[in-house]
Symmetry: C2
Subunit: 334 residues, 2 copies
């Protein structure tokens, strides 16, 4: 494509940033903004590639975003996130909201099939035109998943979905921090064999805006609720005290309360001006991540594989990696 | 410190790489290499800071590394990793091996205290001079934890520990991929209320060299073992077929077999030349990560906070983040 404009050789797309959109991308964006379901599906496939064409699309859609309520649902495996989300979506539909779901699937293609049973219930919701569910597969390193997930929420947002749910296993997954994509974070916990609250062990405490103690139908949630209460009490009063809601995807218990809690949290975010503050934090974090990705790609474009391989060999030969990295940088950055 | 040599202004330490070591660092490194316990403790504190002084220390220690068997022990919260490691360490001690443990603690200082109960057993091992256990606290973004953990294994390695265990909750935690620090990865699973194998849901399948199905004393591990067997059978024969070992930290069942499995895996790695290949992959991944971190730090040193803040404001005003990131890059990188 056009490479006459830039002075940077080797990674022109990355260095120049967003390409001028071609007419098909412009048309796709226009259809997404009208809420056209097939256009949304296609746009989601475009952003999943996380490449130059997705940038052009997002550049067009970006000014139309910012209206949706971004809800993260997170928790370790086995707590029933997917089933709970299916119930929540049904509740939001009852309240007249259109809902998009981005399910970030930590299982690979190799093993995923057998484990996706609990996603089936969610896919039944696909018959409803006010619901759109999309699974994002984990891909290699380099922040592709984080970028694809963030941009998928933007597609839904620009298409007029009122609530966008992102389902993840929590912090750190393939460089996707749920705090990067959500305004209200629901941490799901289920009663365990032991005394442990797994969400706490997994480091989800700091990010929880609402707790859902799921599988309440099994009747053994009291201890988990008590542990969470005790922990919150120890921490004392804060600006926002995360409510704890007992839920059951099996019976529907607590689902309306959970939807209420998410709405109350959003209202608090807006009232306390924290919604804008969090947006600012998210934008700043995304800029840093994009800068980092682009810098590395730019450098690797110039360094070339032989030099990186030579540096790797030097490390294996006993030169410490900090020195090798610095020497590569010095050579190419001056 | 010395800043006359570099042409890069703003982030001289990062740009120049490893500082020349001062005499205290040289002395500390020499004492670490002799296996001096207090020196090891101090060196671990230095690498935990993940700053310039840790680079100077690692530059000195690095040529003495490469002898230890690096064992990762991972699994979601609640499967009993810490207790299992305590048992394993005892077994390795019986076999005459010195063992260092880096426990990467996902819980923050705020909530960690109450949850560290299962670490107490491990700390009893501290009375044994052939064992050294160190917890690394999760710290902010920017790869600090990954760097500190990798360098902690190097301290143990250079100090002559035969086995270095890294305990983590698995892939992705705060940008620490256990594959970046371990040669043999033990994935721990415990029987669950449901049919799920949580390790699989958490994406740990791809990295497992050995499975430990823990809490065998509860008598309900058969289903978990059967699920894992069925999955491995479906995948067919591979170069290395991960063994599945039933263990119980409570009774000691299976611990010797688990230690055997780790040794057999190491022997296979060496025999098949994969030990060298994996070292090469780890070195390459680390170089990429260091380049990325240093590039970002260097850029942020030059861009300055006001420009990043202005770019953030532009994003909030509707300019898409890709364009803003590219413009920042263009301005500073030419």
């Amino acid at each position: 494509m056009d490479s006459a404009s830039g002075g940077t050789v080797g990674a022109p797309d990355e260095a120049r940033g967003t390409d001028p959109a071609d007419s098909r991308t412009v048309e796709l964006a226009a259809r997404v903004e009208k809420g056209d379901r097939r256009a949304v599906a296609r746009a989601l496939s475009v952003v999943e590639r996380a490449d130059t064409s997705s940038r052009a699309l997002i550049a067009l859609l970006f000014p139309r975003t910012g209206r949706a309520h971004l809800v993260g649902v997170t928790g370790v495996g086995g707590v029933g996130k997917s089933s709970l989300i299916a119930r929540l979506v049904t509740e939001w539909r009852r309240r007249g909201k259109r809902v998009g779901v981005v399910a970030v699937d930590p299982t690979s293609a190799a093993t995923g099939g057998a484990l996706l049973g609990d996603r089936i219930r969610m896919e039944e919701l696909l018959a409803d035109p006010g619901v759109f569910v999309r699974s994002m597969a984990t891909r290699g390193a380099g922040g592709g998943l984080a970028r694809a997930t963030i941009d998928a929420t933007r597609v839904f947002d620009a298409a007029g979905y009122d609530v966008v749910v992102v389902e993840t296993i929590g912090v750190g997954q393939d460089q996707l921090d749920v705090g990067q994509v959500a305004e209200t974070i629901v941490v799901v916990e289920a009663p365990n064999l032991g005394d442990d609250v797994q969400a706490l062990k997994a480091g989800l405490r700091e990010i929880a805006d609402v707790y859902a103690v799921n599988k309440a139908d099994t009747g053994s949630t009291d201890r988990t609720v008590a542990t969470l209460r005790a922990m919150l009490a120890l921490e004392g009063d804060r600006d926002w005290n995360p409510p704890i809601v007992k839920t059951s995807a099996a019976t529907g218990e607590g689902i309306a309360e959970l939807a209420d809690a998410a709405e109350v949290h959003l209202a608090w975010l807006a009232r306390s001006r924290r919604r804008a503050a969090r947006r600012r934090e998210r934008a700043r974090a995304e800029l840093r991540r994009l800068l980092q990705e682009q810098l590395l790609r730019d450098l690797l474009g110039r360094v070339g594989d032989p030099d990186l391989t030579a540096a790797t060999t030097a490390v294996l030969g006993g030169t410490d990696p900090y020195r090798c990295a610095s020497e590569l940088l010095r050579r190419y950055h001056g």
